[in-house]
């Protein structure tokens, strides 16, 4: 079922259609929420809030953008507002002091992925969001601009800076490990 038909079915009051909508977009909503919020319980609650908002506002959606972009925008704003309420710090990338565990091996690819994931989790909210939308959800720059409200230059800059930062930490860590061997 195409998005347009799905939306029209939901607007007619079909529960089955809304279940299908949740199924189709829960991965995207989880990505947005889980990147910003740490607590598993809060994540589930916020995801629920997001889908309630989607249901409430669906009649205002006129397909002037992709449904995924519209849903990601609601998820992003809901999660960011929650983070602000909980006073989750929004620091700059340079101000972040990355905590690096010692149990990672450069030889194990799985370990390395987890290590990078832990680094990504410690990035500032805006950086994490942009990286997630770009790499995990395959959003284009204009779509990320629409979701986050950031200028396109800032989006590109965040992706570039975050990658450089991650690379420098991984390189530093790799050198340390080689030195230890």
């Amino acid at each position: 079922m195409k998005d347009q038909e799905l939306v029209s079915q939901v607007l007619k009051g079909s529960d089955t259609a809304f279940r299908l909508l949740i199924e189709r977009y829960q991965r995207l909503v989880v990505h947005m929420v889980a990147r910003i919020i740490d607590s598993a319980m809060d994540r589930e609650e916020i995801c629920q809030d997001v889908f309630i908002k989607i249901y409430d506002k669906l009649s205002t959606f006129k397909f002037d953008a992709k449904l995924s972009t519209w849903i990601a925008t609601i998820a992003y704003r809901t999660a960011v507002n929650f983070a602000k309420k909980k006073k989750i710090d929004q620091v700059d990338l340079e101000a972040v002091s990355f905590k690096i565990g010692a149990e990672v091996s450069m030889a194990e690819e799985k370990d390395m992925k987890q290590f990078i994931h832990r680094l990504v989790d410690q990035l500032p909210v805006n950086y994490k969001t942009v990286l997630t939308l770009f790499y995990l959800d395959g959003f284009s720059y204009p779509e990320i601009v629409e979701v986050t409200g950031m200028p396109e230059g800032t989006v590109k800059n965040y992706i570039h800076r975050a990658r450089i930062k991650l690379k420098s930490i991984v390189e530093q860590y790799a050198k340390q490990e080689v030195a230890l061997l």
Partner: protein, 109 residues
Amino acid sequence: MKIENWIDEALKTEINFELSKGFKNSVLTAIKKKELRSEQKVYLLIVLGVILMVLAGYVCIALFFPDLIQKMSQEKVNKLIPTAVIAVVLIALVQYLDKKLIKERGMVN
């Protein structure tokens, strides 16, 4: 180059978090509860509106036509009250049937 690839792959790897199995049901239950609350609020406002209208009507009659109530025979008043009650019940019934038969048909489709 290898590090770049690792970063790419890590960024494309799914986040380790899953919603509970009953997530869809809990969302729908929350929506139904919310709808019920707002529906109740609307009905309450309608009832309040009707009561206020009746009161306003009574006050107007009492202020501008004070003799009217006295002129009406007790017999007429006795006929008027059941008619008003039947009218209110009919309006409520139409509202209820409208919701049950027409709006809920949309839910099934």
